[in-house]
């Protein structure tokens, strides 16, 4: 295989559609999702619950639930089509090429094994030739890097002896130990309280300097993503509605959904009795997706053209794409 040109993104998701078989029928959870993560960049994916952002991440990891109905499109990591890999080859990609940090640190670590055992085991795939002693030493150093005090002692502890924030640091350390090209962080701060969330975000910012891979950072909060990410992808009900550099997206949002999302967050937490803003209406039914703009039902600017076919994600300015006929 020839090396892809340097300009090629590390991760390239093209036209990814994915559905699950459920008791109610087939849910079209992702529809024609296209996004790219350049090398060394942090890309944020933002959307509300049910927008398909976690499913997209699981698809990249090929860790999808067994009721998967159909997948089309392609997911290419550094020139390798992940969807075409045999299971064992995909397993070997995990950890050393692409690793993932999960939402809930309280359940992400195995409760009956020492942190040390788990941190050594995750490295075996990436570094099969290194001795246990070497892997142990790396694990202790990485715990120090992510801010666990007295790591040489704490590494002998079990997960339940750490707080939620500390556990998330441990999971992040495990991911970094594998030196993956792509690190996926699936809402790594959502399950934590606000002060711990700020600490973990600061940790990601600090890690940027020492980590030369790319990061796919999933969040339901534009605010979280804004400070951390170079580029932002906004997802809604299983599609990408807008993608741009973080600065462009915040200063000049083009999709009505992004604008509403920004307004919701600006209203957040000023504590002066103003009611929290929300977008009227609910997330659409993914069992019966209309051949129209998926946001039209909730969009304050919707008109006839929005109901005539699904709007394509098109470039509205250099590096700025939106899926809206008005953009």
């Amino acid at each position: 295989m020839t090396a892809p040109p340097l300009a090629a993104p590390l991760l390239d998701v093209q036209g990814l559609s994915l559905s699950f078989a459920t008791a109610r029928g087939v849910a079209r959870v992702l529809r024609d999702v296209t996004l790219a993560i350049p090398r060394g960049r942090i890309v944020g994916v933002v959307g509300e619950s049910g927008s398909g952002k976690s499913t997209m991440a699981s698809a990249v990891m090929r860790l999808l639930p067994p009721n998967l109905h159909a997948v089309t499109g392609s997911i290419t990591l550094d020139g390798t089509d992940l969807l075409a890999l045999p299971p064992d080859a995909m397993r070997r990609m995990r950890g050393r090429r692409v690793a993932m940090v999960f939402q809930d640190p309280m359940t992400a670590l195995n409760p009956v094994f020492r942190v040390e055992t788990q941190m050594v085991d995750v490295q075996r795939n990436a570094f099969p030739d290194r001795s246990r002693r070497e892997l142990h030493a790396r694990a202790v150093e990485m715990l120090r890097t992510v801010g666990i005090p007295a790591p040489e002692k704490r590494i002998r502890d079990y997960p339940h002896q750490f707080s939620g924030g500390m556990r998330q640091r441990i999971v992040i350390a495990m991911a970094l130990l594998c030196e993956p090209e792509l690190l996926i962080a699936d809402e790594p701060t959502t399950a934590l309280d606000v002060t711990i969330e700020a600490q973990i975000l600061r940790l990601f910012e600090d890690l940027r300097a020492g980590f030369d891979g790319s990061i796919l950072f999933i969040s339901h909060s534009l605010g979280v993503v804004s400070s951390l990410c170079d580029e932002v992808v906004v997802m809604y009900a299983g599609t990408v509605v807008e993608s741009a550099s973080a600065r462009d997206l915040f200063t000049n949002p083009r999709h009505p959904y992004t604008r509403l999302l920004l307004e919701c967050e600006i209203g957040e937490g000023d504590g002066r009795g103003e009611r929290l803003r929300s977008i009227p209406g609910g997330v659409p039914d993914l069992f019966d997706v209309p051949d129209a703009c998926i946001f039209a039902g909730r969009c304050p600017q919707a008109h006839d053209r929005c109901l005539q076919g699904v709007p394509a994600l098109r470039e509205v300015a250099p590096g700025h794409r939106a899926a809206c006929v008005l953009a």
């Binding site: 860790l63 094994f113 707080s163 495990m174």
Partner: protein, 320 residues
Amino acid sequence: MHPTLRYLSGRLLTTALVVVGAVTLLFALTLLVPGNPASVLLGPRATPEAVAALAERMGLDRPLHERLLMFFGQVATGNLGTDVISGRPILTMVMEVLPFTVTLTIAAIGLAVLVGVPLGCYAATNPGSRGDRVAAVLSVSFIAMPNFVVAIFLLLIFSIWLDWLPVLGAGEPGDVLDQLVRLILPSVSLALGWVGYIARLMRSSLLEVLGEPYIRTARAFGIPDRKIVYKYALKNAAIPTVAILGLGVGRLLGGAIFAEIIFARPGIGTLVYDAILTRNYPVVQAGVLVVVLLFVLTNLLVDLSYAWLDPRLRPQKGVA
């Protein structure tokens, strides 16, 4: 006090209380049987003098609380008295046959674990497959068959029709191979139901654990499936099985009576059975007492093994 030490002493105290309760109940056994144990033992044609003499030797003429204390004293010192029929110390009689029962029970449990756990693991890692369904049918049939029925059928098939295995007895003393061969049918007949039990339990708890987020984490780091199942999931899934095994030892000790009678093996089961037939209550008491002690001891070990399997159950000094 160190938390581990405090945990251990607390656990030992409850164990001791259970033993005291069991010993009291055993004592009550002699009060509950109709009639005077001495006359029951000597039969209807015994003279009143003989009955009175035996009653005195058994201490039946003393007040109740004194007899209870005496019984506790006997249990505590291990001096369980002399068998009135054979004139031998009861403790010696029990200790002679105890190894046979313990060997049989360990063999049965070992067999149940060695077959049941892999069967359950296979079923859990291939849910819905043909093998899983076959394992399910087999397991349920094994559970449904009473072990004395299994014992009789095994005896018929393998000893009488096929003539592959010896019929009766525990084997010649000193001939280990012979003893092992004669252990096969009794232990299989005891283990079969437990194979089914453990396989079903293992399957369901392993399936549950395999759906846990930390297993997903392990997959996300490329840890091989075999290692995920047999290292990361199995230790979590083993906890319910170990709990059941603790109870299982008690059931197996009870079930051993059938196997010992059917296969004419010496053991606590046959000893107690024969003693019941001759209304030899002191021997019954001693036999049951040993079974109770073994059961309590196993459950203590099971409780301690929880802490080994699950560090969250270990006594904590504090959480950082």
